[in-house]
Symmetry: C2
Subunit: 308 residues, 2 copies
Amino acid sequence: MPDKIAIAIHGGAGTILRSTMTPELQLQYEGGLQAALDAGYAVLDGGGSAVDAVAVAVASLEDFPLFNAGKGAVFNHIGQHEMDAAIMNGKTLEAGAVCGVAHVKNPVLVAKEVMLHSGHVMLGGQGAEEFARQRNMQVEEDAYFYTQQRYNQWQDALKEDKVQLDHTDKKFGTVGCVALDKEGNLAAATSTGGLTNKKFGRIGDSPVIGAGTYANNHTCAISCTGVGELFIRSVVAYDISCLIDYKGLSLKDACNLVVLDKLVKIEGEGGLIAIDKDGNIEMTFNSEGMYRACKDSNGRNEVLIYKE
Amino acid sequence: MPDKIAIAIHGGAGTILRSTMTPELQLQYEGGLQAALDAGYAVLDGGGSAVDAVAVAVASLEDFPLFNAGKGAVFNHIGQHEMDAAIMNGKTLEAGAVCGVAHVKNPVLVAKEVMLHSGHVMLGGQGAEEFARQRNMQVEEDAYFYTQQRYNQWQDALKEDKVQLDHTDKKFGTVGCVALDKEGNLAAATSTGGLTNKKFGRIGDSPVIGAGTYANNHTCAISCTGVGELFIRSVVAYDISCLIDYKGLSLKDACNLVVLDKLVKIEGEGGLIAIDKDGNIEMTFNSEGMYRACKDSNGRNEVLIYKE
């Protein structure tokens, strides 16, 4: 019997209501999730690494225009797309991240390149873009990132002079993936366009190792989505790892404690996906819904949006 | 008897050798440390908050040209000064950070302003500078940050085409402070100019909450200095907090485990300062030396550079 492989992805959490969803739109979301899930799973199934699988799955989510990452990233205050992403290898504890980066087609692939070829963990702003260009990563003109929906959201936010989450219904637009490969290695990756109309180079939790993204074969791999500021202050992803490592909690108990108790107490709305070395998957959120999906070699295949 | 107050600061760790130090230079370093220590302690002694104390002490270290932060920050690859800083309030778990910011005289004070008045935790690059200017924080021309020593180091690094630590003797140039105030509240702050000749908007652990900076009344306050990449991957500051919280370790045992064992195993050279709610202070490092000092209301006053 081959070793178990498993993968989970998310496309953000928040106030996702059936009343504001059309059947057509729901099908599009589900299609985008399934395509990314299948792309990541195919890497694992072919004997590829968890790192490669999460990169491929998140890149697929970045390319899907309905999610707030890569193509479909929200507009910042001055009409640009400043993106954050991170990736971490649970086997080596190597990590890579970019923040406030523009023009790169797939921020998660740049984060992977940072991890493998920069000698650093975190690159920011124009420097990160310059690194991507020197490494011949795919870059795009501003027009590539334009979507009418995001433009309208930005215009609405400008009129109301507010920084807002990425949907008219409150949603934390982020995408992420966690995976377990045939060798028993874990990895996590996260990517986001951040907040519509954001100012001052605001950076959320996605590119912060330990906050929005973390992976360690010894414990788990985690990708978060939620109120970035509170997730940073709570060091959410590493907190779950420590609860497993130092208190002996199960993956499920650790995720429930952090997401459904600790974060709720500070109004830290959002959620996360998590996986451990046995292929257990948790998709935990304290908001109305979370775009999420998972698949494993035992035949599980779920694509979900609302609470069960 | 008034409640105990205590403060500790650092000015970076690394290969600080007596053989390369002159008596005059040592006096300058010790004077800079004592002045910052006294400035922070005076805040605490006057009934001020731990947050204000760490901000004042770190700002003093930033103003001191021999340390790699604020005035005296190293040159990056293109001859600019890109600085990182963070601050965290252990009472509220509020935090603020800036990364890759130029021209602001005191990055730690901008980080505090981010914490108090931005609605965010982390601001990067030109956006962070714009925020500082809008909040009327003190900004300086490039000339303010010029020091002959740093310029020479940059020229040497350019010739050798390498990214280097901030001294000709290998040193992780960072400054930081942790404090306990009369109300029993903890705080931590860290600031750095990063690596000489750094490229691509490289960000280290200093502004990463949980890695280089963390404070929580329930456990401890921490400020780190070392190989930033490894400190990020190890989530060093929050790891110590979790070892205390979840495993019941003392502050001393937690610091020793992380700095003298876990970090050593991955060649994570550096150190940290830590304080808990009882005013226990640890100044732990695995390098040859660490510029450090501490003072408390029991009469302790230490200014140290080398191993004891």
